[in-house]
């Protein structure tokens, strides 16, 4: 067979491929965008939501809390931190509630008051209207609250600036010493917007580090937000993946050392895995142009199954037998095992998640490469030297127990039945419905984020209206037209409030209309003089007003860039966003009292419903692809085993094991996500190996005993590797470890119980 004919050629080819793969990987960009593991979207609305989640302004917001001193010192620290971050190129803007951060806003409001104020377009500049404004101002001048008014009165006698401020959202955190604080006064709060998108884990890491460096080390700093999630998940996954791989690798090594007692054989066992990871990584890099850091981490785990391939061959060697001869005997079954795992990866490869597709390709090409290396290269590397001098055999007690397991076949059926009942009864709770839970974020971080958000008065939005248009202005005009309807809904108490971008900055058309309402300089002067007759204002007090109205006319409407660096600018960027080829205005609705009445009058997007629909769609895709993968595997088995009965015999234990482990996972409170699905595919691959080998006809008891031993060893290595992974504090790694651990054990037991021989 293979390897025996042209061993040198196989080794040379293998070395060449390894070198090329290594070169390709060395020149590959490793990206850390967690968004690849978010489901892709079916509708433009969903696409918009996901885009916002990945890189919208909301995703770029970092919430910062400084604590550990009295409020005076914390306010000082808050101001110093804000100043330092504002001069840092990683940050687009920083707000701490202080005047410093609002200076740009005030200036913009003042300069553009005649296009921003809703009253500016009305008849405000005739003599009688001016007279009314001036009389009101005079009465107000005497009031105790006149301080700020007095300063701007000569520039803004009609009070447009105040009208603008009145329309701004009022919710904001408590202040101490002029900056934002939590209600208990223990933490100063800041909000920073990073330049990089929230899912860009590396850039977010830098920004977070900059925050920590900018604060006196004696004080405590907490940073939260999507960027922190991304950075933390990345570092945690990478750290845990490496650390736990090392631990499980060492454990597997110890086990193999105990069994083979020959370093040469153990080294051979690792050759297929290492080759598989290299080739798989290179294949992904060639096909996608980059490799996700997480793909590499998980991919190594997926290809890790390949450590068992040489073991199946080695442990089947009789004393004095070479690896090549042992492999020759076992190869038809092993080949089938490898190919079924490769087909299992197909499910992921066809997935529309780019992260999953990468994983699929990595696992398919990696496992294929590992299988081929086991079959064609290992015999050449091992030469004719015997694998072992003493016989490999399972301890007699284990062997007896395995034989006894067959008596428990009815129990497997009962368990599978119970599992189906449980799964059907709790079908509603089977899948993870929360889109946020799809991102691999540890729960304590999420809790801290919720708390900071509450303190900052940022309400959770569930309902919003999406106004789309071919251009930014078209979308804005569409949104503008909604204002009357929304006010009516507020009046009827269907909703408590809304956040409409055009309330702050109107569309260009509306701005131009307001500018057109400003009178000519001469007319305005005449009107003002008429209005001032008999009032106790000094002559010339309102010259600045006359001048600035003229300047406003000359300045024209407010362009998008004029709000750069302002709080309002950030707000607008979250509310008015590019969507596909056009633009969309998001109108968050607050305090929805009657969702049905609301939906009947305006097209409302229910974010929770939308996210559930999104996940349901993705679930359907996953199930469809899994069915496809299963079908392909069954076909392959039919081709390899050439008997329908044999196929059923091999597939049945694995199918039952998958059902039982899914029910078990649900019992321990896991909700299935994309990551559980990856793990289930792995379980399927491993489980098929077990059932294929358990079912393998052996000519004599000695061979049978060696095969059993091989199965025990491979199951032990798998459990060692994945149970270690289950100890990760990262939800994703934990999910994979737990699922594969439970699944592999279940598959081993069902295969043993349902084996024919």
């Amino acid at each position: 067979m293979m390897g025996s004919k042209r061993p040198r050629l196989a080794v040379a080819l293998w070395l060449l491929i390894l070198a090329l793969s290594g070169w390709q990987l060395a020149h590959t960009r490793v990206v850390a965008d967690l968004g690849a593991f978010l489901p892709p979207s079916a509708t433009p609305a969903q696409q918009l939501l996901l885009d916002q989640m990945r890189s919208g302004v909301a995703s770029r917001i970092l919430l910062i809390a400084v604590s550990g001193s009295d409020d005076e010192r914390l306010a000082e620290a808050s101001r110093a931190l804000a100043a330092k971050l504002r001069s840092n190129a990683l940050f687009a803007s920083v707000q701490n509630g202080g005047d410093e951060g609002l200076r740009a806003d005030r200036e913009a409001f003042m300069n553009y008051r005649y296009v921003l104020s809703p009253a500016a377009g009305e008849e405000r500049f005739s003599a009688p209207a001016l007279r009314a404004s001036l009389e009101a101002a005079l009465a107000e001048l005497a009031s105790q609250s006149a301080g700020p008014l007095r300063a701007v009165l000569p520039r803004d006698p009609t009070g447009e600036l105040r009208r603008i401020f009145e329309r701004l959202p009022a919710a904001s955190p408590a202040k101490r010493g002029g900056v934002w604080f939590t209600a208990d006064g223990r933490r100063a709060l800041l909000v920073a917007e990073t330049v990089a998108g929230g899912f860009d884990a590396l850039a977010q890491e830098q920004a977070i580090a900059a925050v920590h460096q900018a604060v006196d080390p004696k004080l405590n700093v907490e940073v939260s937000g999507p960027g922190v999630f991304a950075a933390a998940s990345r570092t945690q996954i990478e750290r845990d993946a490496w650390l736990l791989s090392l631990v499980s690798g060492a454990l597997v090594l110890l086990l193999l050392l105990r069994i083979y007692r020959r370093p040469r054989i153990i080294a051979l066992c690792f050759v297929p895995v290492v080759s598989g990871v290299l080739v798989g990584g290179a294949a992904v890099s060639l096909a996608f142009g980059n490799v996700h850091a997480i793909t590499l981490g998980f991919g190594a785990t997926l290809v890790g199954e390949a450590v068992d391939y040489p073991s199946y061959a080695c442990l089947n060697a009789a004393p004095g037998e070479s690896l090549r001869r042992a492999l020759e005997r076992i190869w038809p079954t092993l080949r089938l095992a490898v190919l079924t795992t490769v087909l299992g990866g197909l499910t992921m490869l066809l997935s529309s998640f780019s992260g999953l597709a990468q994983l699929g390709l990595l696992s398919m090409s990696g496992v294929l490469a590992a299988g081929m290396v086991t079959g064609y290269v290992l015999p050449a590397l091992a030469g004719e030297r015997p694998v072992t001098e003493r016989p490999f055999a399972a301890p007699p007690a284990l062997e007896r127990a395995t034989l006894a397991a067959r008596r428990f076949a009815p129990l497997v059926w009962i368990l599978a039945f119970v599992a189906v009942v449980l799964l059907v009864r709790n079908a509603g709770k089977l899948w993870e419905d929360d889109l946020a839970a799809m991102s691999p974020v540890p729960e304590p971080l999420k809790a801290a984020d919720r708390e900071l958000r509450r303190e900052l008065g940022a309400p959770d939005v569930r309902h919003l209206i999406l106004v789309q248009g071919p251009s930014r202005e078209a979308a804005l005009e569409g949104a503008e037209a909604l204002e009357g309807k929304l006010d009516e809904l507020v009046r009827r108490k269907v909703i408590a409030g809304y956040d409409l971008a055009t309330r702050y900055v109107p569309s260009l058309a509306e701005q131009k209309r307001r500018l057109a309402a400003l009178p000519e300089p001469a007319t305005l002067r005449t009107n003002l003089e008429q209005a001032l007759t008999g009032l106790p204002f000094q002559r010339g007090v309102f010259e600045p007003f006359l001048r600035e109205v003229e300047q406003s006319r000359a300045r024209g409407p407010l362009a998008e860039g004029d709000l750069r660096g302002t709080v309002l600018g950030i707000k607008l960027q979250t509310l008015v966003v590019p969507a596909g080829t056009g633009w969309a205005v998001l109108v968050p609705l607050y305090g929805v009292a009657d969702a049905q009445a609301l939906g009947a009058e305006v097209p409302v997007l229910d974010l929770k419903g939308e996210s559930e629909r999104l996940l349901a769609g993705y679930r359907l895709e996953a199930l469809r692809l899994s069915a496809l993968g299963m079908g392909a595997i069954v076909l392959l088995l039919a081709f390899g085993l050439r008997s329908a009965r044999a196929v059923v015999q091999v597939v049945l234990p694995v199918a039952l094991a998958l059902l039982i482990s899914a029910a078990l996972l649900q019992l321990v409170g896991q909700r299935l996500t994309v990551f559980h699905l990856i793990a289930m595919l792995l379980v399927m691959g491993i489980g098929l190996n077990y059932s294929l080998f358990f079912d393998r006809p052996e000519q004599n008891l000695l061979l049978r005993s060696r095969l059993l031993f091989a199965l025990y060893v491979t199951c032990a290595t798998t459990l060692l590797a994945f149970v270690t992974l289950a100890f990760s504090s990262n939800p994703v790694l934990h999910a994979i470890g737990l699922t594969v651990g439970v699944g592999a054990a279940a598959a081993f037991l069902t295969s043993a119980a349902l084996a024919r021989r």
Binding site: A142, S143, R150, P154, K175, R176
Partner: protein, 192 residues
């Protein structure tokens, strides 16, 4: 009234020596103030604003209740009540139907201005000196507190506040703003 004050001012250097001689100083004033549990007076406030051809005149009542409640009720030319209770300041304008409330903690500058009157009436020297550089002069029957805000943020609006009075009765509060605008509040005690 104004001329009376001017006369008193002329006598100041004299009075200061007298005060020293009699051992009457800021502490003495503060302790005398601290002995008053509550007070209610009427006031006339004249605001001299640069942009107006003639000053605005406000009339109303001023009451204080130990330890930290201060109410300034303007009765004419409109009805407006400013209440400071602990950290909370509220402004109710009945004429315009407006009602606002804010925390002095959030607005430290406003807090400073409130303390010029409240800490003086409370006889709380520490509080007064926390917000202002305090210059005391005069005697028991004609004292004068010259207050200059310590915070630059406050000095941007208010240059100085001068409170003058006799014994535990402030009679005149003059606020000089950085714009040059000025307001003088004359406090009328019962029987005076």
């Amino acid at each position: 009234m104004i001329s009376g004050v001017r006369n008193l001012l002329a006598l100041l250097p004299f009075a200061a020596t007298l005060a020293l001689a009699q051992g009457w100083n800021l502490d003495a004033l503060m302790s005398e103030m601290a002995a008053v549990p509550a007070s209610r007076t009427r006031f006339v406030e004249t605001r001299h604003l640069a942009m107006l051809t003639h000053p605005l005149e406000l009339k109303g009542s001023l009451s204080y209740e130990r330890p930290d409640r201060l109410v300034k009720h303007v009765e004419s030319p409109f009805d407006e009540t400013l209440t400071v209770n602990g950290e909370v300041l509220s402004l109710v304008n009945m004429t315009r139907g407006e009602r606002r409330s804010l925390s002095l903690r959030e607005q430290p500058a406003l807090g400073t201005l409130v303390e010029s009157v409240r800490a003086t009436l409370a006889g709380d020297r520490a509080q007064l000196e926390r917000h202002y550089r305090v210059q005391f002069s005069g005697a028991r029957d004609a004292w004068r507190l010259h207050l200059v805000p310590r915070a630059t943020q406050v000095r941007a609006h208010v240059e100085s506040i001068t409170v003058s009075g006799a014994a535990a009765r402030p009679q005149r509060i003059e606020v000089l703003e950085s714009t040059g605008d000025r307001s003088v509040m004359t406090i009328l005690h019962d029987g005076k």
